[in-house]
Structures are given as C-alpha cells and as structure tokens.
C-alpha cells in the first residue's frame, strides 16, 4: 500500500436501514428468479429475513420463520423461487417465494447450535445436496434434498481434535462428479472431505484461531479462509487433492466473519470485526481498499453477479458498494 497519492476511500452507494437488529446473513437473488428486479435477502439476529428491492432500496417483505432466533445463512436454489434460511432455532427452512408467496414449504431440523453455516451443491435439476453441521459437535451431516434423506455423516477421526466445524463449502470439480466438502474447524484447520468415501482427503492447519469462513475458487483450485485471528490464509489444491498453504495475509485487526470471492473471481471481500470491509485482488492477494462505514462489527459480505457488494453489520445497517465494476 505504498501508493503515492491514495484516493479517498469510497462511500457506499447506498445503505439499507430498517432491520432493527444486527445483520448476520446476506444473499443476492438475481437473474431469472428476480425477473429483472434484483433482490437482496438479509437475515437478522431477531430471526427475520428481509427481502430488499435493490431498485426501490427498500424492504419489500419480511419472513418470520425462526422464532426470534438469529438467521445465520441464506441461499436461493437455482431452479425456482425458493429460499433456504438457517436459524439458530435449530431449523433450516425452505421458503416458497413464487408469485408473491412467502410460506415455509419444508424445514430440516438441525442439531447443532453453533454458528456454522450450511452449504448446498446442486447436481441434478430436482435434486441437490445439503451439508449441515451434525449432531455430534465435530460432525457434518450430508443430506439429499428435497427428500431430506441423510446421505452420510462426516466425522473426523477421534484423535484429530478438530473441534466444531465452523464453515462448510460443498463443491464439485469440473472433471469429476464426486462431491467434495471443504470445512473449516475450530482448531484453525481446513479439511477437504470426499463425501462419497466419507474420508478426509487432506487437511492443513492454516490458522491459530478458529476458521470463521472460507471461500473456494474451483477453477483456480484455490481457496481462502479467514479466522478469528489476524491472518487470511490462501491455500491451493494440487492434483493429488492435497491442500497446500500458498500464503497468508496479515491484518491489522483480528477477526474475519466472512470472506467471499466475487463471481468473476477478480476480487474478494472480507467482513471484519474491526468494522471494516477489506477488498483484495484475488489473484495477487493485493489489498485494494479498506471500506470504513459501519460502526460495529461486520458479520457478512455478499457479491451480486453484477459486482455490487453488500455488507451487513452489527450496527443494523446493510451497506451496498459499487467497486471495480465487472467488465
């Protein structure tokens, strides 16, 4: 950051207010489902899911399905107007949002009270795979949806002492149909699971503090993880499906709540407990900007397909930023 004349940090494009509770999860919904009017979903500590119109910059509706318990994860399914929301009320709800409906059509009971966010992998059109934190404190459960049949439980070996899973990322290599799971654990390590064989392919201890979130670029076979500590770790997956640490990036303040790579894989953003959003060049891991707007810890960051960045904070605001527009 030895730029001779640093530009003043940009302002958010706009700020969404009105959740009246800290924001814990964000998810953009666009394209076909949104019918030309991009939407943003936000999950709040008070258990509500707000659906924001980005055109009106206002909440259109709120979904109340988690009994006042914090909503930690939101995800839309590509095939339709369906939204998944995970709450700390030990429930994962599937909402039907088509044609103005907003009803829970299905729900999956969860057995872990942690903050570990779930992950999905869409394989065939109707079927998709869901990874959720399991019953045992160190387990991850894999379900086949929408039938909710349990596929398997991924339990590390007894002597591994990984602690609780903190973050999950299901993915599939282009070349092989085998579903893989990247999981960050409480002890600061990231493990790659082969779901069908239910074994850990590789594991690296890249953080000293619990891994808070990770994101993975399957094209470059490279991922990044953030922890409660002061470092970001970048690691890669070699041909033998072994994880290798490529490098770490030291931060001034500890604590990363979420790390997200933009869909075009050009930049990534981190949600900092120090109230700041940090933006990096993904390939070079060069810091590009430190966005200071929020007055409390940032809990989540999300990118829209067009490059819009959203950050949700404990200060109950959601800031939207237009940075380095996508080509």
């Amino acid at each position: 950051m030895a730029a001779p004349c640093p530009l003043p940090p940009p302002d958010p494009q706009f700020v969404l207010r009105g959740t009246q509770s800290p924001v814990h999860a964000l998810h953009f919904c666009e394209g076909r489902q949104a019918q030309g009017h991009p939407l943003l979903f936000s999950g709040s500590q008070s258990g509500l899911v707000h659906i924001w119109s980005l055109q009106m910059r206002r909440a259109l509706t709120t979904l109340d399905g988690h009994g006042g318990q914090c909503v930690t994860w939101l995800q839309t399914l590509p095939q339709g107007h369906q939204l998944l929301s995970q709450g700390r009320d030990l429930k994962l709800c599937l909402w039907d949002l088509a044609e103005g409906r907003n009803a829970v059509v299905d729900s999956v009971p969860l057995e872990s009270v942690g903050f570990c966010r779930s992950s999905i992998l869409v394989q065939g059109q109707p079927r998709w795979m869901l990874a959720v934190p399991g019953k045992g404190s160190n387990e991850v459960q894999i379900l086949e949806m929408p039938s909710k049949t349990s596929v398997c439980t991924l339990k590390p070996e007894a002597d591994a002492k990984l602690g609780m899973p903190m973050c999950l990322r299901l993915w599939q290599a282009d070349c092989s149909p085998r579903p893989l799971l990247l999981a960050g654990y409480e002890d600061g390590s990231v493990a790659l699971w082969d779901v069908s064989e239910q074994k850990v392919c590789s594991r690296i201890a890249c953080h000293e503090e619990p891994v808070m979130d990770l994101d993975f670029d399957s094209q470059k076979a490279k991922g990044i993880s953030g922890s409660a500590g002061k470092a970001l770790a970048v690691w890669r997956l070699d041909g033998q499906q072994a994880l290798q640490v490529c490098g770490t990036h030291q931060l001034t303040n500890p604590g990363i709540a979420e790390v997200t790579i933009r869909p075009d894989r050009k930049i990534l953003a981190t949600a900092g407990w120090d109230h700041r959003i940090r933006v990096f060049h993904w390939r070079k891991m060069q810091p590009l900007a430190v966005l200071a707007f929020h007055s409390a810890a940032i809990q989540c960051v999300a990118f829209a397909a067009d490059g819009l960045l959203a950050a949700g904070s404990k200060d109950q605001r959601i800031s939207l930023w237009s940075l380095y527009p996508c080509a």
Binding site: D11, P12, F14, V15, L16, R17, G18, Q20, Q55, M56, R57, R58, F293, S295, D315, Q316, R317
Partner: protein, 1088 residues
C-alpha cells in the same frame, strides 16, 4: 290587408294616379301612387306591373334637370313595386338596371354623382331589389357579354360608394348590392345552383371586374380599424367569394387554350377576359400581393369577427383556388396558423376545424401536402426567429411565437424534419434561449430571508391540481407580457411532445453545461420539454402520435436530475453566509456582545448592504433563480412521471429537502411547493407523510453526506427539516444518523458547531414534542396543587383580626406538628403525600426486576446530546452558547423522567452553567436562567444546595445593585437587556424558591433582594414580577412573608387579642407615606 285583389279593381284605383303622375311629375304624385299601391295585392300588382312602372320610368327618363327629391321618391316607389313583383322579361330587367344605375351617373366626373345620401341609398336598394326580383332564368340571360359595359358601370359605381362614402349605412348597402350583382348573395331567394357551364360563363364575365373589385376591396379592408368591423367583414366576404369564384380551379381547368369566337360586337369583346394560363399566373401574382396585405392587416384586427372571417377566407381560397393561387398558399396558411392560438375561442375553434380539414386532405396547395408547406414555413421561421426575437416588440413576439406554436401543432411528429437539421435546431434553440433570458437585477430576492423555520405544514390539497401552473413569477429581460411566457412554455411542451426527446434533451443539456449564461433558460426549456413529453397538457391534433414511453421518460428525467443536483449546479452561492460573518464580526468587536439582539442584526445587515458590490448580487440572484428553476423542474418532472416518480425519490427528495431548509425565502418557498408537487404525483397526503414514508432515503443521504461534511455543509439542515416535519415513528430510523451526527460533531467542534447545534436543537425539540411525559407532569401538578391546598387550609385565619382562641390553638398544634416533621419524625401519611416521587412507569412494566431495562431510544439520545452540551456550553461563540443553553433546557425536559440519567449529567453540567449564570454576557445569563428554572422544576432537591451556594448570592446581589438603576430609569429602560434580565430573574425566582424548597435563610435572601422591587418607583413590570416572587414565598413560608411585608408597610394597628399580651410595635406602621404601600396591600390581601 290588400283591399283590391283583382287586377280590374286595382286598375280602376291606380289608373287616375298613374295618369296624374304622367302628366305632372311631382313628389306628391309619386307618394300618392305609392299610398295607393299599398292597398293592392301582390298578384294584382304583378298583372299591372308594366302599367305602373311606366309613369315611374317615364319620370326618370324625361330629359332635363330633375329634382333629387323626386328621383328619390320615384326610385323608392319603383323599389316597392319590384319588391312585391318579379321581373319576367329580360329587356325590362336590362332597362330598369340601366335606368337605376343612371340615377347616380354624373357625366362630368368618374366618381358617383354628387347627390344626397338618401338618393344613393334608395338607388342602391333599388338595384338590389331589382336583382332579387328577376324571375328564374332571366337573371342568367341578363349576364350576357353585351351587358358587360352596363354591369361594369354599376360595379364600379358600387365600389366607389363602398370605398368613398362616409355613411356606414351606404357603404354596407353598396357592398351588399355588389354581392347580389356578383350573384354571391346569401339570401334564400336564389335556390338554384349554377351548373358548370353557367359558372364558367359568369366567371368569364366577372373576370373583367376582378382587378377593380380586388384592389378596391383591399383598400377598404386594410383601411382604418375604426370604420367598423361589419364593413371589413362584408368586404372580406365579397373579396374571397369573388376571387374564389373567378379563380376557381374547377372552372379554370375547363378553359380552352384559344378564346372562342364570341358573337358580341367588337367593343364589348375587347372588354372580355380570356382566363388562360398566363392570365391566371399574372392575376395570381397580383392577388398574392393583395392577399398578403389583407392578411397582414386583418390578422391583428382587434375584432374577433373580422379574424374569424379571415379564417373563412383562407379556407375558401385554399379549398377552391389551391392551383391558381399557389403563391398565396404560404401566406394564407401562415395566417391560419397564426390564428390557431387566437385569444377568441370562436376563432380558435374555427381555425382548428379548418386545419383538421386540411390535414385530412392529401394535397393542399399545388402538388404539395400541407405538411410540406408547413415544414418549409417552419424552416424559414426557425431561421429568422433569433432576429425576430431581438427586433420585435411584445406584440410582434406574441404573433411570431403564436405562429411558431401553430406550425408545431400542425406538423406534429413531423417537426423532427426540422429538428434533425442541426442548423435549424440551433437557430430555434438560440432564439428560445435568448428570449427566455431572465432579469436578475432584483436585489430583494437575495435579501429576503426565511426566518420562520416550520412552514412546511401546508397540505398539498390547498394547491392547484396542475401544480406547475403556479410557478414563481419571473421577470425577463426581453419581454414583459406574461402571455409570451405562456406561449414559450407551450412551444417547448409541444417540442417535447412531438419532437425527438433524446435529441432535444441532449441539445439543451449541452447548452446547460456550456455556459452559465444559458443555464437557466436551458433548464426552463428542459422542464417544459419533459412536461410536454408526458403529454398531459397537450391538445393533440394527431391522434396516432405515440407518446414517449414512461420507462424512457424516466431515464431521461433521471439523467437531467443528476445534472441538476450535481455538486456544481445545486450548491451555488446564494447568500453571503450571514452567520459566519456575524461570528467574525463578533470576534473582532467583543463590545458588540452587549448590545441587544435587534441592534446587532441591523448592524450586520447594514454592514453587508454597504460592502456588497452589485455584480455579486446579480450573480447570487441568478444562482437563486437557477436553483428555483431546477426545483420547479423537479416538481414538473414529478407531475410528468406521476407514480413513476417514486423510484426517483431516493435521489431527489434529499436535495429538495435541503433546499426547503435554505435561508433564502424564494428558494425555500419553491422547494416547498416542489415537495407539494411530489406529494401529488406520488400520492402522499402531506409533506409529513412524504417525509415519513421516505425517511429511509433521506437518512441514507444524510449519513453518507455527513462523511464529507466539508463538501456538504448543509447536511445537518436536512436532518433538521426532517425532524421538524415528522413524528415519533421516525426515531428508530434516524437513530444511527444521530449517532453519526454526534460523532461528526466530535470531530468538528471548532468549525461547524453552529450548524450541528441547531440540528441538536431540532432533535431535542422533536423529542420533547414526540414524547411528552404526561405521567410525571400530572404528578408534579397534583403535588403542587396539594401543597397549595394544604398550606391554605392550615392558615386561613392567621391574619384575621378576630382571631379566636381555637385558631390560636390550631395554630400551635400545626406548629408543633411541623416542628416534629422538621425534626425527622415523619409519619407514614405525610411521607406518602409529600415526598416520594412516583416511580417512572418503565419500572412498573418491567418483567425482569433484576435486569436493568434498556433505556428508551429518546432517553439515550438526549443523554448523548446533553453530554455534548456540557462541552459546548463554554464555546467561544456567544450564539452557539445561547443555542446550547436552549438545547440543554430541552435535554432536561426530555430526561426528567429518568432521574438516574439526568442527575449525573446535570451535576457535570452545573459548573459550566453556573459560569454562564454568573460571568457570561447578559443574553447568556438570561438563557442560563431559563435552564436553571427548568432544572429546578425537574430536579429540585438535587439543585437546592448548589443553587444556594453558587447562584443565589450572585443573583440576589445583582438584583440589589440593579434596583437603584431601574428605579431611576426612564421609559426606554424597559428595552434594555438589563431590564429583561431583572424581569426574568424576578419572574423565575418565585417558582424556583418554591420548587427547590429553600431553607429559611435563603428565602430571606430572596425576599430581601426582591423587597426593593415592591417600590412604586420601580417599573411596573418589575413590580408585578416582584409581587409574584412574594406570592410564591407565601406558599413556602406565609408567616415570615407576612411579617416581612408588615415590616415594610403596616396598614393597621394591631390590638392584642387579650389584654395580658403586649401590644406589637412594627416598623412599617411608623411611616405613613410609603412607596411600598400599594404592592404590600395587594399582597396582604392575597394572604387573607
């Protein structure tokens, strides 16, 4: 009525008179005949027509000089006969025609004979009646070439009369007669229409007269306006009827190349005209000149009927002679177009009808469609427009712009042909920009300030439904007529409606950006273009025209709005920052602090007035107008977009609100009405509704702009306006912004404190209003009532002369009881009634007694604000200190239900407040005292010792030292700050003493200081205030107060109730004349 029905009877009656007349031709005989004729039936008269006519014609034909009177009566009699009969023989018709015409013939000159007007009228009417009485076909045989000389004579005779006579009656009669002669009469007596051949023959015949008729009538038409409209109307009618008959395309296309051999004699043949191509061309050219003259004159004729006739003329000529008068088509259409916006609705309607009719026809003139001619005309008008706009006067501009408007209306979507030509668009825009230049020399606009800050409460229902019609009156450099501005707006709206909006908006945006000289005009034009594009007010002559689609329109509006509200176009210098100037002034001259506020402002303004050079005023005025025009534009855009405008609120509302809080009166007014327009468009009932519903957008703007306060110094203003115009629902939304404000304030204590303090003031005022603490107020009120009641009940008899033993006993008992209480032996009953404050409601509702309940948002806010106030109380700037004291006052009001929060803060604020009270400028002392009073009423106990220790001595001291001054002072004294201070302290001390429940020693201090003000020498107001102090003191300690007053002046001698008691000697009783007498008496009366 006819007495003689049969010809025989009639003959018998008429014969003698006819014979008589033939023998001696006198007026009497003619009249005799006429009287007899009255009694004869029409049928009998027809039989005897020739016979009766004979003596009359004989009289006319008799050679030798005749008396005019005789001729007149003969002609009148002849006319009478002809009006009741019809002429069945062609020869008779011709002869009568000649004979009648000859009556006005003067052989000596070309002009009509110099005869009496009555005779002229009689002859004209005779001729007219003759032509009407011609029977059936013989009228047609009359118009054979051989009649040409005689007809020509009659025509020129009539034209001469129409042109030269003075009498209006004759003129009109001559014109009517001419119309009949030319077979253009409109009465019912000519039922048969002519066939083609007949028309052609007549046309050939009349063609000879065309030059004479057209030139003479043109002279009549273009004559003085004063000659009366009916003459002009008739002349116009004959002109176009004749011209359209002779020059009719229908007839002309049948004319053979070679003139047919006519059977008439050579002399007559020479007079005949052959209407072949060359003749048509020449005549057309000549007529064009005349038509142009006519149009030029008639289109501005003051009488609408004349202009209406012009519309008829245009229609007739264009419909019938579009080929032959091809050269005149341009001017004719131009006349029509110019009348499209006529002030008379009849003319307008007719014009529109005719134009619609033309538009429906494929070909209008020559081979060209109407549209082609119109575009050519528009091209040429666009070219000359800039020149016309500079050279013409208001009337000229009006007609030119009417014309332009007419072309635009008629061309509709086809105006794009003209707009697509860069040169023409530039000419057009140059002209518009030039003529719309505003006059910005008015200094008042810059000076007028908005003082009243809460005038946003107007409801949109009060304004008109077409919001942009009440735009601000503005003054233009190049015209004064308001109608011209209306026309210009219509022109722009039509351009927006029909023209390529992207092209136009681009063009004018370019001009807008190009130079500040064009900016205001370009903005005005852009506003109207968009209004027009929405097509809400446009009367469409082209039903098939497709309007700009709303999506596109919104995009266009968005881009214009971006430009309008951009940093460099929205934040213009509109005033010299008076506040800052004021501050600087005060820093330079600390002495100014002491003068009163009124003098202060006047000094500052006069200073400004002298130092302002006028170019700055002009540019500020110009800036103000630019902002106003842009604001109005936003209103118009809202109107144009309707509900769609809601999507633009997120970027628009904030800047508008910012301007609603502007200091300049005009700007804030216009901004308010813009908000009204937005309410209308987006369906909000009130401004408050608008602000409340969109507070999220506003808050967003505020919080983002606070981050760059140097760039957006007016940001706090917006929050202020919002707070003033909203309600408690707003609070959660602004909570984080208030935190931002406070955080920013912490950063900029030194620089921008003033604007922040006013926001804090607005915030606290809003909080105090939104959360009135009714529960506690009621409690306090009851408490005070109770106290009063108890005191009064206890002491009803103290001062009565007839004090009974029971009274004394009761007094003693009470005294003992109070002494007991004072010693601390308090009974439960007393405890309940007197001391315990009712616990705040919040606690009652609390379900978790262990957990500290979260403080309500407003309390948290007020605490945060009060925290800042403590620091700001000692600001260098007096104005800020004063404001902070106000804010502090409000903080105390809001917080008073939360003693646990209020008291620590009050404790911290105390030293600084004491400083204000004791060592600051008088104004600050005044405000600080107000805070003290509020504080006293809210937390009495807390304040008691502090007040007595830190403040009271000083206050009492100043009252005592000021007393001699005010006692000596004249009437002007009541305008001084010192007086106001005295008054405020005296008014406040009473309630304070009571509220703080001061001890005896302190009460005595107060009483001592106030006693002097009971003197009649003090100003009346101060006496009143002093009395109020004692009234309060009476409530606290009636006995000592009574004693004090009695010491001052004792109205009665006290006799002991029992002889065993010593008589009392009071100081007050000694002196009879006493300045305190009046007030003491009044107070004592209260005590009884």
């Amino acid at each position: 009525m006819a007495v003689f029905d049969t010809p025989e009877e009639a003959f018998g009656v008429l014969r003698p008179v006819c014979v008589q007349l033939t023998k001696t031709q006198t007026v009497e005989n003619v009249e005799h005949l006429q009287t007899r004729l009255q009694a004869v039936s029409d049928s009998a008269l027809q039989e005897l027509q020739q016979y009766i006519l004979f003596p009359l014609r004989f009289t006319l034909k008799t050679p030798g000089p005749k008396r005019e009177r005789l001729i007149q009566s003969v002609v009148e009699c002849l006319t009478f006969v002809l009006s009741s009969t019809c002429v069945k023989e062609q020869e008779l018709l011709q002869e009568l025609f000649s004979e009648l015409s000859a009556c006005l013939y003067s052989p000596s000159s070309q002009k009509p004979a110099a005869v009496s007007e009555e005779l002229k009228l009689a002859v004209i009417q005779g001729l007219s009646t003759l032509m009407h009485s011609a029977y059936g076909d013989i009228i047609l045989t009359f118009y054979e070439p051989s009649i040409l000389p005689r007809l020509g004579f009659a025509v020129s005779l009539l034209l001469g009369l129409a042109e030269q006579e003075k009498s209006k009656q004759i003129k009109i009669a001559a014109l009517k007669c001419l119309q009949v002669l030319l077979l253009q009469c409109e009465c019912q007596d000519h039922p048969r229409s002519l066939d083609e051949l007949e028309q052609k023959q007549l046309g050939d015949l009349f063609a000879s007269f065309l030059p004479g008729i057209s030139t003479t009538l043109t002279r009549v038409i273009t004559g003085d306006f004063k000659q009366g409209h009916s003459i002009v109307v008739s002349s116009l009618k004959i002109f176009y009827k004749t011209v359209s008959f002779i020059m009719a395309d229908e007839q002309l296309k049948r004319i053979s190349k070679v003139q047919a051999k006519s059977a008439v004699e050579h002399r007559v043949a020479e007079l005949m005209v052959h209407r072949e191509a060359d003749w048509v061309k020449n005549t057309g050219d000549k007529l064009t000149i005349l038509i142009k003259k006519i149009i030029e004159c008639v289109s501005v004729h003051p009488h609408w009927k004349v202009r209406l006739e012009l519309v008829e003329l245009v229609e007739d000529l264009l419909l019938k002679c579009s080929q032959s008068l091809v050269e005149s088509a341009g001017p004719l259409l131009k006349a029509l177009v110019g009348l499209v916006n006529d002030e008379s609705p009849e003319v307008q309607a007719q014009c529109n009808k005719v134009l619609r009719h033309f538009a429906d026809q494929k070909v209008v003139v020559g081979n060209k469609a109407l549209a082609d001619i119109l575009s050519e005309s528009l091209h040429s008008l666009a070219t000359s427009l800039p020149r016309l706009m500079t050279s013409q006067d208001d009337q000229g501009k009006f007609s030119t712009l009417s014309l332009l408007l007419g072309y635009l209306k008629l061309l509709g979507p086809k105006i794009n042909f003209v707009l697509n030509s860069v040169a023409h668009l530039q000419r057009l825009s140059k002209a518009l920009i030039q003529v719309l230049e505003l006059d910005v020399a008015d200094i008042k606009i810059v000076e007028e300030r908005r003082w009243n800050s809460d005038d946003l409460n107007a409801s949109p229902k009060t304004s008109a439904t077409q919001p942009w019609n009440h735009i601000q009156r503005r003054y233009f450099r190049f015209f004064t007529d308001e109608r011209i501005f209306m026309l210009l707006r219509q022109v722009c709206q039509l351009l927006g409606y029909y023209g390529n909006l992207y092209l136009l908006v681009d063009h004018f945006m370019e001009l807008y950006r190009q130079s500040v000289v064009y900016r205001k005009q370009a903005a005005m034009i852009l506003n109207e273009l968009v209004t027009g594009a929405a097509g809400l007010e446009v009367e469409d002559l082209h039903e098939k025209h497709i309007k700009t689609n709303p999506e596109e329109l919104r995009e266009i509006v968005t881009s214009i709005l971006e430009e309008y509200t951009s940093q460099e176009n929205w934040y213009l210098v509109t005033c010299i920052e008076t506040e800052e100037m004021g501050e600087e002034l005060m820093m330079e001259h600390p002495g100014l602090q002491a003068i009163t506020s009124g003098e202060h402002t006047s000094q500052v303004t006069s200073f400004l007035a002298f130092s302002k050079p006028s170019p700055i005023v002009c540019s500020m005025n110009s800036n103000i107008w630019q902002i106003c025009i842009q604001l109005e534009g936003i209103g118009q855009f809202a109107y144009a977009l309707g509900k769609d405008f809601c999507l633009l609120l997120m970027s628009t509302l904030y800047p508008v609100l910012e301007k609603a809080g502007d200091q300049t009166l005009l700007i804030s007014q216009v901004a308010t009405s813009t908000m009204m327009d937005i309410c209308h468009a987006c369906g909000y009932d009130s401004l408050q509704h608008l602000i409340n519903q969109n507070s999220d957008y506003l808050v967003n703007g505020i919080s983002l702009n606070l981050r760059h306060l140097a760039l957006h110094p007016h940001t706090p203003k917006v929050l202020e306006v919002m707070l003033r115009n909203s309600d408690a629902n707003l609070l959660p939304l602004v909570a984080d912004v208030v935190q931002d404000v406070l955080a920013t304030l912490d950063q900029f204590y030194d620089k921008r404190a003033a604007s922040f303090v006013s926001v804090l003031h607005a915030l606290l005022a809003a909080l105090a209003q939104w959360f009135p603490d009714t529960g506690n107020l009621r409690h306090l009120h009851e408490q005070s009532l109770g106290e009063e009641g108890s005191h009064l009940n206890q002491r009803p008899a103290t001062l009565e002369n007839s004090t009974t033993a029971e009274d004394i006993e009761q007094f003693l008992l009470n005294y003992l009881k109070e002494k007991d209480v004072a010693d601390g032996n308090v009974s439960d009953f007393d405890n309940e009634e007197e001391e315990q404050p009712v616990p705040p409601k919040v606690e009652e509702n609390d379900t978790h007694p262990d957990v500290e309940p979260p403080l309500p948002l407003q309390i948290q806010m007020a605490m945060d604000v009060m925290e800042r106030c403590i620091h700001l109380l000692s600001d260098k700037n007096l104005q800020i200190r004063l404001k902070v004291l106000d804010v502090l006052d409000l903080c105390v009001v809001v917080l008073h239900s939360h003693k646990n929060q209020l008291l620590p803060l009050a404790h911290r604020a105390w030293p600084s407040l004491v400083h204000r009270l004791t060592r600051d400028a008088p104004l600050a002392v005044l405000r600080a005292f107000k805070v003290l009073r509020t504080l006293g009423s809210k937390c009495g106990d807390f304040l008691r010792s502090r007040f007595c220790k830190d403040v009271l001595p000083k206050l009492a001291g100043s009252l005592v030292t000021q007393a001699p001054i005010s006692a000596r002072a004249g009437p002007v004294y009541s305008h001084t700050l010192a007086f106001k201070l005295q008054l405020a302290v005296l008014q406040g001390l009473g309630p304070l003493c009571e509220r703080l429940d001061l001890g005896e020693g302190d009460l005595n201090k107060v009483a001592d200081a106030c006693l002097i003000y009971l003197s009649a020498k003090q100003p009346v107001k101060l006496q009143e205030a002093a009395r109020s102090v004692f009234l309060h003191l009476m409530k606290v300690d009636p006995d000592s107060t009574w004693f004090l007053l009695i010491e001052l002046y004792c109205p009665t001698q006290f006799t002991p109730p029992h002889p065993s008691l010593h008589p009392v000697q009071l100081r007050g009783a000694s002196r009879q004349q006493n300045p305190y007498m009046a007030n003491v008496l009044r107070l004592l009366k209260e005590l009884q």
